[in-house]
Amino acid sequence: MLADLGLSSVDELFSVVPEALRLTGALDLPPGLSEPDVAVRVEQVAGANRRSGPDLVCFAGGGAYDHDVPSVVRRVAFRSEFVTAYTPYQPEVSQGVLQALFEYQTMLTRLTGVEIANASLYDGATACVEAVNLAVAATGRSEVWVSGGVHPQWREVMRTFAGGTGHELVDVPLVDGVTRFPSEGAPGAILLQYPNYLGCLDDIAGAAAAAKSLGALLLVAFDPVAGGLLRSPGSYGADVVVGEGQPFGTPLSFGGPYLGLFACRQEHVRRLPGRLVGETVDTEGRRAYVTTLRTREQDIRREKASSNVCTNQTLIAVCCVIQMAWLGTSGLRELALRCARGTRYAREALLAVDGVSPVASAPVFREFGVRAPVAGEVIVERMAEEGFLAGVPLDDGGLLVAVTEKRTREQIDAYVTAFEKVVK
């Protein structure tokens, strides 16, 4: 090949790189390893973590939940045609991914109760950022009221990006687990999480009324698992519904890759961030799918863009749509019910322990906060020795406890017994 190019050495390929810049030696990295040796290294590193499983029964949530993932998700979503494909720029050879995304979009609109869903964003936090950007662009008002019940790390991400766009984020604190938005002011949007960070069913009806009277858009960060049981945000009048799709088909994954859910009312479709798949026909009149309204995207409008999203989380969206189809209507409800049942059972048992009190009295879904005589961080450290990941510590010393459909009565009973021991 070099001879075809009239070159005598590989180094000549880089003659266009100024000589003074070229590395003279090798990179200071170890030499390449054989595949089996790498496998050993990775196993070693993985072995230095305590993973959720029989040895460490997971009661931690806080935005990352230990749900069962059926075999079909891994076996089908991780087929190499899905894993090693690219963004469907050539629809004629991308109908598989496009149709899967079209079905994902459809399920998401049914779950959220609004008409349009995109083909995914990075995670719940960045979906909130995009929701705020959309609302500010749509209303021309740069002030956004954010419930203190929105995941604290998501609020942190929103603050980081507001540093560039100049949006003014106003925190509205929780009162006994629910948000009471002020009735006066001129926000472009109000955002709450439903159920919120403390697991509480926040006052979404009150938020909807406040948004309406203030002329603001209602943005709701929605737990899709709760969608099996609770009224959809759209039915309350939400304009944009976002969320974290991890519970549907993605393991804990140390926080990523996760799935940013994003859906909105039809009227905002031209401000929708990210990709959108639409149905059309081919030259023979056969049904076909394609990414559409591309002019919204960064690749054409460039500096006029209101979003810079380029890649998304397509593969995770495929996991999500397969898991949702596996659940179906009845399974979705069953999943939500089972989470709520385990949560009620665990909450009642924990609150019966001496010195343990609830963080809030509002009703909860699959997570709840408790206060104990010992700080949450200490409980987590001590409970690890008992074989539990006890929860996620709260800033005020409390502990956030999550119960999914995976937790058996036996595990919950053992957890409560251990809890009683470590908080004494």
Binding site: V16, A60, Q95, T126, C310, Q313, V318, I322
Partner: protein, 492 residues
């Protein structure tokens, strides 16, 4: 490989999962938990309770598996054949990396678990961060950005934080006219205004024009090197000096990093901020459009602004999370696309420093060979030694017989290859941006070149009729935008 081979892909229309749904059918199964079976109305206050469950689709596991498997038969992928998609770097990745990311000891770890339980993850992230700093010639890194564009915006927010700490109010960022589309969008979201600098007749940044645009309002410049024409910016040292002279910073768009691995480092060229697309250079498969990962590495003076937390080694050998002193804050809900980071780490281990240089050598050799082979058949507007990709054009074919870049792309699909990137970069008319990548063999490149030569000899009618062997023929994109059907329900 036979140049005329066609990947086996289904041509039967696949009904949606909703059309296959039969009420009452189910795939799910849940474990026995022994938890009391309270009813919905005992668990949730009535005013929050849905009247009816969300209507999803009801299928058996067998129907579900058959449906999505048939969809995979309507999908091109790297494992099926080459993907010479310029700027996107669609190379084959070792399967080892998939296995690494799937290990339960990595995948089943809660992101909020205390440091004592995640020493393996912290070590992996710290080691990957060190390796990426070595590759780029930078000194500190955040692994949080979940995608390249997110990395770009993170880099701009770092730039902003640095200027603000110097007490400066800068308003503009300079971008070449050949830049990636995400660059100007990121600049806008970073709160800056884009100033475009034209390319000269070599296809490189016009340094004279750049100097005219440099003043005290310039926060920095965003460049990729090699640039989107696949050409190395030979004047980079002069560019860096000029930008630094007015107090600006240099941002490196790492989309094209695989061309220079082990050859030259952005840090040595004078860049202050570098983002990497781990899904282009370091073995993270694209997944049909994501997930990717877009870490951002910086020079020492910017380290204290990085998003936190970052893993930090302790004197006793253990690791903990630490938040940089003047952190701009988080850019991801957790720690970034961790499992994608694990894939990249295993890729670096298997290649090593020496192997990474061979990646660049093969990528550049393949791209130059293909340009050389095709230069007599297609226009090559900047016909000079290129890096890992090059831009060809169908301007002459269009003039002679009306064959456009899009037609060539569609003809290639029926020849059994994925198409190159078309109509990008914007500064080349009828552009075909070709990146063969380092993993394709000479035989594959020959087949691809043969196909492109045949296509160039096609009549206009022949080209316009393509593709005829794909699951669907040419798709009516205009109709999709005109009559928007974004869900199954919108169809009615």
């Amino acid at each position: 490989m036979d140049a005329k081979s066609i990947p086996l892909m289904g041509r039967e229309e696949e009904p949606t999962i909703f059309e296959q749904s039969v009420a009452g059918r189910r795939a799910w199964s849940f474990r026995e938990t022994g938890v009391p079976e309270w009813g919905a109305d005992e668990l949730v206050p009535a005013d929050h309770l849905a009247d009816a469950p969300a209507d999803i689709a009801e299928v058996s596991e067998r129907d579900l598996v058959a449906h999505f498997t048939r969809l995979t038969h309507r999908q091109y992928s790297v494992d099926l054949g080459p993907y010479p998609l310029g700027s996107c770097t669609m190379k084959y990745n070792p399967k080892l990396c998939d296995d690494a990311a799937g290990l339960p000891g990595l995948a089943d770890v809660h992101p909020a678990a205390p440091e004592s339980m995640i020493q393996g993850w912290l070590a992996l992230l710290a080691d990957l961060g060190d390796a990426l700093c070595e590759v780029t010639g930078m000194s500190a890194i955040t692994l949080q950005p979940p995608a390249g564009a997110s990395g770009e915006l993170t880099g701009l927010l770092l730039m902003r934080a640095w200027h603000e700490d110097q007490g400066r109010q800068r308003t503009k960022v300079i971008i070449p006219d050949s830049a990636h589309g995400t660059n100007p969008a990121s600049v806008t979201l970073g709160g800056y205004e884009t100033v475009t600098v034209p390319s000269d007749d070599r296809g490189l940044v016009d340094v004279g024009e750049l100097r005219k645009r440099l003043d005290e309002d310039v926060a920095g410049i965003m460049l990729t090197n090699p640039n989107t024409l696949g050409l190395f910016e030979e004047d980079i040292v002069e560019i860096a000096a000029a930008v630094h002279e007015v107090g600006g910073l240099l941002y490196y768009d790492g989309a094209n990093l695989n061309a220079i691995l082990g050859v030259v480092r952005p840090g040595d060229m004078g860049f202050d901020i570098v983002h990497m697309n781990l899904h282009k250079t370091f073995a993270v498969p694209h997944g049909g459009g994501g997930p990717g990962a877009g870490p951002v590495a910086v020079s020492p003076r910017l380290a204290k602004y990085l998003p936190g937390p970052v893993p930090e080694r302790q004197p006793d050998g253990s690791l903990r999370w630490a938040t940089p002193e003047r952190s701009i804050g988080r850019v991801h809900g957790w720690h970034g696309n961790a499992l994608a980071l694990a894939r990249a780490w295993s890729y670096i281990l298997v290649n090593g420093g020496d192997g990474l240089r061979r990646v660049a050598e093969a990528a550049v050799l393949n791209a130059n060979w293909l340009r050389h082979r095709l230069r007599g058949v297609y226009d090559v507007p900047y016909d000079r030694p290129n890096m890992h990709e090059f831009v060809a054009s169908t301007t002459s074919l269009k003039k002679a017989g009306g064959v456009r870049a899009l037609d060539v792309a569609k003809r290639l699909l029926e020849e059994g290859f994925h198409a190159p990137t078309v109509y990008f970069p914007l500064i080349v008319a009828e552009a075909l941006m070709i990146e063969p990548t380092e993993t394709e063999s000479l035989q594959t490149l020959q087949s691809l070149a043969d196909a492109l030569e045949r296509i160039a000899a096609d009549s206009h009618d022949e080209a316009a009729a393509a593709p005829r062997t794909t699951p669907v023929s040419r798709v009516d994109e205009a109709r999709a935008a005109r009559t928007l059907i974004p869900t199954f329900d919108a169809r009615r």
